[in-house]
């Protein structure tokens, strides 16, 4: 090693370089306060490493992106973990940036002669936010798609240049292939190159001026305690970074990587929310009256940026003590209060809104469904066509367009005909027998004649099972036929081999053929006859479509579907 080291050193001069890097004097000694910058550099390196791995699997197109991320998340060994590190690492970058900024601000490290370091730091802040913005869209899932729509829409509301800037970001008039190639290109080529450039300048400037110790330490004490960067400061840095990485590992394992929603679907009603560090911008849109939102956001952001940029020039205080710099602290506190306050307001509003929670649950169910369908492979038309090849989803869409004007589903819809959620489950059938006059059943329809049942709960259970047994869906209960006749059901309802009566025909009740007949010809005597106002779908829906609707009705893949 020694001889090889000599050989290498004679040719590269690495020892002098390493010595230069490690022996940098830290004025006043190693401190925890100085770890943030190094930690940012370290997490950035982790982002590069994990990002390169992801890039080896990623496909930047509107058709392919979701499938490729799904592949990393579910198929590639530890792909989910690397993806998790990258995802949570991006949040760690933002947190550390804020910490770094506040530390530098508090210590007054932006003051002469360190202005350039401060300004390059601000540039790095915006580049990092650019990383977050561009990276979030790349999976092309519901979350990234809608979050990015919000952020680009905010850009679009800016006065004068808004529309132009939005077009520039999207690569055209709407989200599509050019949006994703643009975001990808920025995320993996342009922004990294910019960040490296500014980072090098930032570090060179930092090395030129060194650390900025706390304002109240005496020069003599600082001189006496000055020590080289290695080993103590570097070790503090590594201890801190290890803590952060431990959190990232924990988050990645806990969430099995990072969330991946269903493929982007512009037609869905997804709760669009940006990532947490952009929530305040999003919330500001709600707070400001419509006409002022664009200008308001621009004015506030501009004020924030100008304040940060002008700080080294505006700060004419005698010393670095916060007591002398109180006006700057006041403005910073105001800005911070607005940002933190709006972020909190948005989070609290969502947490206390049951409809947001409900839509999130639906989104989770849709994601699960998409994952299950994607196991068969992504169809040639892209991930958004996963559903089109799925009978459940086709049936659901048909139901929503053809049936839901009268029928409701889980309380959503017309409400003039039975609610079809849980159709043909025991609970649904039992409810229909118990009291068909309730609004969830026939209360608001024109079908009438059957009253609230005069039966005990145990009898209702038997009647339910007996009714379902007429279509062979469950075994026939022993006392079923007797009870059916005791209660007089047969006066109106016909069973197999019996002549049609005034009420619903129960021969084959609940089978696919029976349901199909109801959809095709609800006007026939065995389907309530003239009382039934349901549309005759014979000739309006194909047999295959009717089959899809039945699949959706009787076999939903999950409870929240």
């Amino acid at each position: 090693m020694g001889r090889f080291g000599d050989w290498l050193d004679q040719r590269s001069g690495y020892r002098a370089f390493a010595h230069h890097a490690l022996a940098e004097p830290v004025e006043g000694g190693a401190r925890w306060s100085y770890v943030f910058g190094s930690a940012l550099a370290a997490i950035f390196i982790i982002q590069i490493a994990t990002g390169l791995l992801l890039a080896l699997f990623y496909s930047a197109s509107a058709q392919e992106a979701w499938g490729s991320v799904y592949f990393v998340q579910t198929q590639v060994s530890l792909g989910w973990f690397v993806r998790g590190l990258h995802h949570w690492g991006s949040s760690a970058m933002v947190v550390l940036l804020i910490a770094h900024l506040l530390q530098v601000f508090t210590f007054g490290a932006y003051r002469a002669p360190r202005e350039l370091g401060w300004w390059t730091g601000i540039a790095l802040l915006f580049i990092t936010l650019g990383f977050s913005l561009t990276g979030y869209l790349l999976p092309w899932d519901q979350k990234g798609f809608w979050a990015t729509r919000v952020v680009t829409a905010i850009t679009g509301t800016l006065p004068l240049i808004g529309g132009w800037m939005k077009g520039l970001m999207l690569g055209g008039n709407d989200f599509g292939n050019l949006t994703i190639t643009r975001f990808f290109g920025f995320h993996v080529f342009i922004l990294p190159a910019m960040l490296m450039m500014f980072l090098v300048v930032h570090i060179v400037l930092f090395r030129r001026h060194g650390v900025t110790p706390r304002w109240n330490r005496k020069p003599a004490e600082l001189a006496a305690t000055t020590e080289p960067f290695w080993p103590r400061q570097l070790t503090l840095d590594v201890v801190f970074v290890s803590g952060i990485v431990a959190v990232l590992v924990w988050l990645s394992i806990r969430h099995h990587g990072a969330p991946l929603d269903a493929p982007a679907d512009p037609a869905s009603n997804y709760v669009a929310r940006p990532e947490w560090y952009f929530l305040w911008l999003f919330e500001m849109l709600k707070v400001l009256p419509g006409r002022f939102e664009g200008i308001g956001i621009m004015a506030f952001s501009l004020f924030g940026v100008v304040f940060l940029a002008a700080l080294p020039i505006a700060d004419r205080a005698r010393t670095r003590s916060p007591r002398d710099r109180w006006p700057h602290f006041l403005i910073a506190a105001m800005l911070l209060t607005v940002v933190v306050g709006l972020t909190g307001r948005s989070m609290i509003a969502d947490a206390s809104d049951p409809s947001v929670q409900k839509q999130r649950d639906q989104a989770d169910a849709a994601a699960q469904r998409a994952f299950a369908l994607a196991e068969q492979g992504i169809p040639p038309g892209g991930a958004d066509e996963l559903y089109l090849n799925d009978p459940h989803e086709r049936g659901k869409r048909l139901f929503m367009s053809k049936c839901q004007t009268c029928h409701s589903y889980g309380g959503n819809g017309g409400g003039n005909a039975p609610d079809m959620k849980g159709f043909m489950t025991r609970a649904w059938v039992r409810g229909a027998i118990e009291d068909p006059t309730r609004n969830e059943y026939f209360g608001r329809s024109k079908v009438e004649g059957m009253e609230k049942a005069d039966a005990t709960p145990a009898e209702l259970d038997v009647l339910t099972d007996y009714t379902l047994s007429l279509g062979g869906l469950v075994p026939e209960p022993k006392t079923g036929a007797d009870l059916y006749e005791d209660k007089g059901c047969q006066t109106c309802h016909a069973r197999a081999g019996e002549n049609p009566r005034t009420g619903l025909n129960l021969d084959g009740y609940g089978t696919r053929a029976w349901i199909a007949h109801m959809i095709r010809r609800p006007d026939t005597p065995e389907n309530y006859g003239a009382l039934n106002r349901m549309t005759v779908f014979e000739g309006k829906l194909t047999e295959a479509q009717i089959d899809d609707v039945i699949t959706f009705l009787v076999a939903p893949p999950s409870a929240d579907y």
Binding site: A49, G79, F81, V82, L85, P231, R232, V245, P379
Partner: protein
């Protein structure tokens, strides 16, 4: 020159740096290597119909596309050409099938009607029409024969693929 305390600090540094490198690096390497032992592109498995015997002239080779649905990492496709085979109908109705992929380095094998030989345009390997054996050129072996059956006038082949560049015939 190390005090015990300095030694401890350096040890902490070494242990944590190592742990970080492993925690981040190992999963990345595992994921990077993952595709090596995975069949990422699938399709053309099992016997499949490829054409009719009646369409094959006796003694003149025909190049036919192998059409099958296949999957590629996360995608699945509708049936489309995934490769080609040479079919030769012999006197008496027996059909021979050869992979259309040159066993040398994987170029597409053609047929030279003037010489009556299969030829690879890349490195000029030539193969006999009668049995696919190598006649000249750098190919380490003859054309790869494929299992073929004739059922009700339909030719059924198994579209196998073989490791290229070696004298022995090993499925890839």
């Amino acid at each position: 020159m190390d005090t015990p305390r300095r030694g401890f600090v350096k040890a902490v540094f070494a242990v944590l740096s190592g742990a970080l490198a492993v925690a981040i690096g190992a999963p990345i390497i595992v994921a990077f290597l993952d595709p090596v032992r995975r069949r990422t592109v699938k399709g053309g498995a099992g016997p499949m119909r490829i054409g009719k015997v009646a369409d094959l002239p006796v003694g003149v080779p025909r190049r036919l596309d192998v059409i099958d649905a296949h999957s590629d990492a996360w995608d699945r496709s509708d049936p489309k050409p995934i490769g080609a085979v040479w079919l030769v109908c012999r006197e008496g109705g027996r059909v021979d099938a050869y992979s259309g992929t040159c066993p040398h380095l994987g170029c597409a094998v053609g047929f030279n009607a003037n010489t009556g030989e299969f030829v690879c345009p890349c490195h000029d390997s030539a193969f006999a029409l009668k049995d696919g054996e190598r006649l000249k050129g750098p190919s380490p072996r003859g054309l790869d024969p494929l299992p073929v059956k004739v059922k009700d006038g339909e030719v059924e082949i198994e579209f196998k693929q073989f490791v290229q560049g070696i004298p022995s015939r090993r499925e890839s």
